[in-house]
């Protein structure tokens, strides 16, 4: 029962905090560009304003275009329920299987790209394809890293993997560090940040499918995309950096878990933000080469694991 309560609370908390996280990101970028930048709460104002605007869909579009924003947001909420955040183990264990998470992330990606084609706009379409290609290039590395981590921990459940790694009882710590690094890089590409992507700029990039959205639908997609970023980072934290999260479900442990989780989240987003603003965009074609490098690191970890180092 308490688990269900935790799941609901953490999901609501996440929804409430998401615009703040994206707002802080925008604020930091502005500071690093030595601009004044928007206020930290700007994304709350944006969402509220968008919600009052007209919801425009192109004349050739179908129900797919209308369904995508709620579907994207809804899927992220399902993921948020099962992701261990304050706790070490997942509050809803049947939602925390790593393979389920990878494939559940494909559901909104499928509709995201589909809605881009549905709009009939070529800019949206190009963006949609790129979104899919990112998935194609990143998923093998992600799977290999998780394969090694799961087998070292003896489970494919995010919570159990985190518990094993968190108790420092894993057989091959070096291997875990290597695959954790590979997984972190793969997650970073998934976040849709520079140098691969700039979620709120060029139309042919991830923003592309959004170019034909407006009003409440656009608000929902923006919300869902930020939520996805936080969830991907939480996923990484839950498996590879679970230290400090609540092992026992007492109020004190949960409170500590919450604080530690927020600190970890802030730290990782800070590092990502610094990195993002320190690099320039690479051409899309180069993404393939760099993901091969990530895959190489994962293979390295895999070989280490087989050799039993």
């Amino acid at each position: 029962m308490i688990e269900i309560l935790i799941a609901c609370v953490q999901t609501l908390l996440l929804v409430a905090l998401t615009p703040l996280v994206s707002g802080v990101g925008r604020f930091m970028r502005a500071k690093m560009h030595t601009r004044k930048g928007p206020p930290i709460l700007q994304d709350y104002y944006d969402l509220a304003k968008l919600f009052k605007r007209q919801d425009i869909h192109t004349k050739d579009s179908s129900f797919v275009h209308r369904l995508m924003p709620p579907l994207f947001l809804g899927t992220m909420l399902v993921l948020a329920l099962g992701m261990p955040m304050l706790t070490r183990l997942s509050p809803v264990p049947f939602l925390a299987d790593v393979i389920l998470i990878i494939y559940l992330l494909a559901l909104p990606r499928f509709f995201f790209a589909l809605s881009a084609i549905d709009s009939g706009s070529s800019y949206a379409g190009v963006g949609g394809i790129r979104e899919l290609m990112v998935g194609v290039l990143v998923e093998p590395s992600m799977m290999l890293a998780l394969f090694v981590a799961a087998l070292s921990a003896g489970s494919t459940n995010v919570g159990v993997m985190g518990a094993t790694i968190g108790s420092l009882s894993v057989a091959h710590p070096v291997t875990i560090i290597i695959v954790g690094f590979a997984f972190a890089l793969a997650c970073y590409v998934e976040l849709g940040k520079l140098p691969y992507d700039l979620a709120e700029a060029e139309q042919e990039l991830q923003e592309g499918p959004l170019s034909e959205y407006s009003g409440p639908s656009l608000a929902m997609v923006k919300m869902a995309m930020s939520l996805k970023q936080i969830l991907v980072v939480s996923w990484f934290i839950a498996i590879f950096l679970p230290f400090g999260s609540a092992v026992e479900l007492t109020v004190v442990a949960l409170a500590i878990g919450l604080v530690v989780y927020l600190v970890k989240l802030a730290l990782i987003f800070f590092i990502c933000s610094v990195f993002e603003n320190a690099v320039s965009r690479v051409r899309f074609k180069l993404l393939g080469r760099q993901t091969w490098a990530v895959f190489g690191i994962a293979v390295f970890g895999f070989v280490f694991w087989i050799l039993g180092i």
Partner: protein, 680 residues
């Protein structure tokens, strides 16, 4: 249960008789196409309904072996009804019923092209498949296997244009290359045991070297039928050429018989000989390669049926991953892993049959309305054909392994089996299991890309041709078949906690190992690593949490909705020519995965070479025949006279072009029969 077992063979014979009668009636009444179609369909549906009952009975019951003596002393007619055969019977006959229903409308496309022969060959095709999966005698197995290949060959070339005859010919050659290998393997076993009974093979431990040769021959032979890489080249040529409901039956049903053969021979018939580790690793590796290459080639296609045919290669690969783990588990003496692997394979076999049949029927519906298979000329069909579009969307999601649909559940089990094997195995197995898991991940991501393309370009956006603008929704029987299959896709996914134990029964009885607990209440479980998911609860949560924002938008958004505008297109003047087409998708993938495509030209070049070689061989045979000595000429002449006589008789019944087909079938069967009798 006794009553059930007693009645199974009688229902089976009843169904077989119904099929044959239906086939003959379709032929006799061929002149009035409506009557012929009606008779063939009614008898076909009745036969398949009966056989579906037999399938369900075999799936749920215990194995029963029936032997009926025949005039040939060496080939008594043995029928084995076990859960594995039951699963295949259910798959084949479920698809057959829906294909028949679909065909009642769809065959309007084939007016004047020989509806009589289609009814004849389809009945024959279904009944021969039913026999292949149930007979337990090597001789009869080969007879029905050949009948299945031939009847489907004639369905492929029904359109009689250059493309279909070429595709059909390649199919015929590949089918016979496979057939030869299987036959040799069976003759080796028959030579050693002195019997054609699988039951005798089953109880004979073969020397490891012999067992390996038999395994290899049957694996490659059945692999030709299954369409695994490198024997896949016939699929994208033969499947698109056949009428769509036949494609559904071939892609959903027939190629599974290839997998069935691999499982039956490798894991059941050779069980007494033990299993070498490298067998499993070979199956696993071929499976991984097939899955990645199949989907990569599918992405480059813009012919919707060729795209689907390549996806069959991919899914056969995924099924083989599970089957490979089955082999590895047996070799490692880890029955739990073996059962889980084989179970994943069988589950995916069932799932692929359902969603691939659905997609082929959907493609057929599009073809029916637009008269083109070229996706570049479609677009926006969702407005004209909403039911087809919804069904095709569900099929696309299922084949892309999107939770909570059925494709995801079986792929989840495949991953779990791979994880288990790596968990318990040594470094070599870890290496191959890791490779397979990565291939499966890559396959999954590429499949998503491919079906966003297939669905988006076909059904969404603006219509790109007059044909697409004038498209209409298909008639009710076609819709019915698709809706049923879409419903089954959802059911097999959301109902996983109920379906998984059934598949587990198929796997554990085939392997003769103890049962494995793969489900618990609403959960689906991997007992080895303790991983759990729950598709029913996931479905409820997804629907609920998608509805919440949907309702919030409906109730609280005050700005109103406008869906009359041209695309904004970043401020440029929008033109219809700007929208996405199928080629745009292939380009990006091909840029990132160039080596995969280079490999294809090498492989398909080899297949072409095989065809050329075969053509030369037949020419050479012809030349030799005309110069033959007296004895040979006698044989040739009498055969020729017989063929002429047979043709003459057939002509009396009806002057259609299928008399030639009939002669082909009879002659091929005769040649084969005499060959095996002589060899024996």
């Amino acid at each position: 249960m006794d009553i059930l077992n007693l009645s199974i063979p009688s229902i089976f014979s009843l169904s077989a008789i119904l099929s044959v009668v239906g086939a003959l009636l379709a032929l006799v009444t061929g002149r009035s196409e409506g009557l012929s179609k009606g008779l063939a369909s009614v008898f076909g549906i009745l036969a398949s309904c009966a056989m579906l009952g037999v399938g369900v009975g075999s799936l749920l019951g215990s194995a029963s072996l029936i032997s009926i003596p025949t005039p040939f002393a060496f080939a008594s007619f043995s029928l084995l009804f076990n859960p594995l055969a039951g699963l295949l019977l259910v798959v084949i006959n479920l698809l057959a019923i829906l294909a028949w229903i679909y065909g009642t409308s769809y065959l309007a496309e084939y007016k004047g092209k020989g509806i009589g022969p289609i009814g004849f060959f389809m009945n024959l095709f279904v009944v021969s498949m039913n026999f292949v999966v149930t007979v337990d005698n090597a001789f009869w197995f080969l007879v029905f296997f050949e009948l299945m290949s031939l009847s489907s060959y004639f369905l492929v070339i029904i359109e009689q244009d250059e493309k279909s005859t070429k595709g059909g010919f390649l199919y015929l050659i590949m089918a016979h290359v496979g057939f030869m290998m299987i036959m040799i393997a069976f003759f080796i076993m028959a030579g050693i045991t002195g019997s054609f009974e699988f039951e005798v093979f089953r109880n004979t431990p073969f020397v490891p070297a012999i067992a390996s040769v038999i395994f290899l021959l049957t694996f490659l032979g059945f692999g030709c039928k299954a369409g695994m890489v490198p024997f896949h080249s016939w699929l994208p040529q033969a499947h698109p050429a056949a009428p769509s409901h036949v494609s559904a039956l071939m892609s959903g049903g027939m190629i599974k018989i290839g997998v069935f053969g691999i499982v039956k021979i490798g894991l059941d018939v050779l069980a007494a000989s033990g299993c070498e580790l490298w067998w499993g690793i070979l199956v696993l590796t071929i499976g991984a390669i097939s899955s990645v290459l199949g989907v990569a080639y599918a992405l480059a296609e813009h012919d919707i049926k060729r795209l689907l045919a390549y996806h069959s290669v991919e899914n056969i690969g995924i099924i083989l991953l599970g089957v490979g783990i089955g082999f590895i588990g047996i070799a490692l003496e880890q029955p739990l892993i073996a059962a889980l692997g084989l179970m994943a394979g069988m589950y995916h076999l069932l799932n692929h049959a359902v969603f691939k049949a659905l997609l082929f029927l959907g493609a057929g519906a599009v073809l029916y309305s637009t008269h083109t298979r070229d996706m570049e000329k479609m677009g926006g069909l969702i407005r004209a054909m909403p039911v087809t579009a919804m069904c095709f969307l569900l099929g696309s999601l299922a084949i892309s392994a999107i939770p909570p649909l059925n494709g995801f559940v079986s792929e989840w089990f495949t991953y779990q089996a791979l994880f288990d094997a790596a968990f318990r195995g040594d470094a070599v197995i870890q290496l191959f299991a890791g490779f397979a898991a990565v291939s499966l991940a890559l396959t999954g991501a590429l499949a998503v890309t491919c079906f966003v393309k297939a669905y988006g370009v076909t059904f969404l956006g603006a219509s790109r041709s007059d044909a697409a603008r004038k498209a209409k929704e298909v008639p009710a029987p076609m819709k019915l078949s698709m809706v049923v299959l879409a419903f089954v896709c959802v059911l097999l996914g959301v109902g996983a906690p109920l379906v998984a134990p059934l598949m587990q029964t198929v796997a554990s009885t085939t392997l003769a190992v103890g049962p494995v607990a793969v489900a618990h209440n609403t959960l689906v479980v991997n007992p080895e690593m303790g991983s759990i998911i729950s598709t029913p609860l996931l479905a409820v949560l997804l629907i609920g949490l998608i509805l919440v924002p949907l309702l919030i938008r409906m109730v609280f958004a005050r700005g109103g909705v406008d869906s009359t505008k041209e695309p904004w297109a970043c401020g440029y003047q929008h033109e219809a020519g700007m929208s996405m087409i199928a080629t745009s998708f292939g380009a990006d993938v091909q840029m990132f995965m160039r080596p995969l495509y280079r490999l294809r030209s090498v492989v398909s070049h080899q297949a072409t070479r095989l065809v050329v070689l075969f053509e030369r061989a037949t020419k050479g045979a012809e030349a030799a025949e005309t110069q033959g000595i007296q004895d040979d000429r006698y044989l040739a002449d009498s055969t020729g006279a017989f063929v002429d006589w047979l043709g003459h008789q057939a002509k009396k019944i009806e002057g259609g072009n299928y008399r030639v087909y009939l002669v082909y079938i009879v002659v091929a069967l005769l040649v084969f029969l005499s060959m095996s009798v002589l060899a024996y």
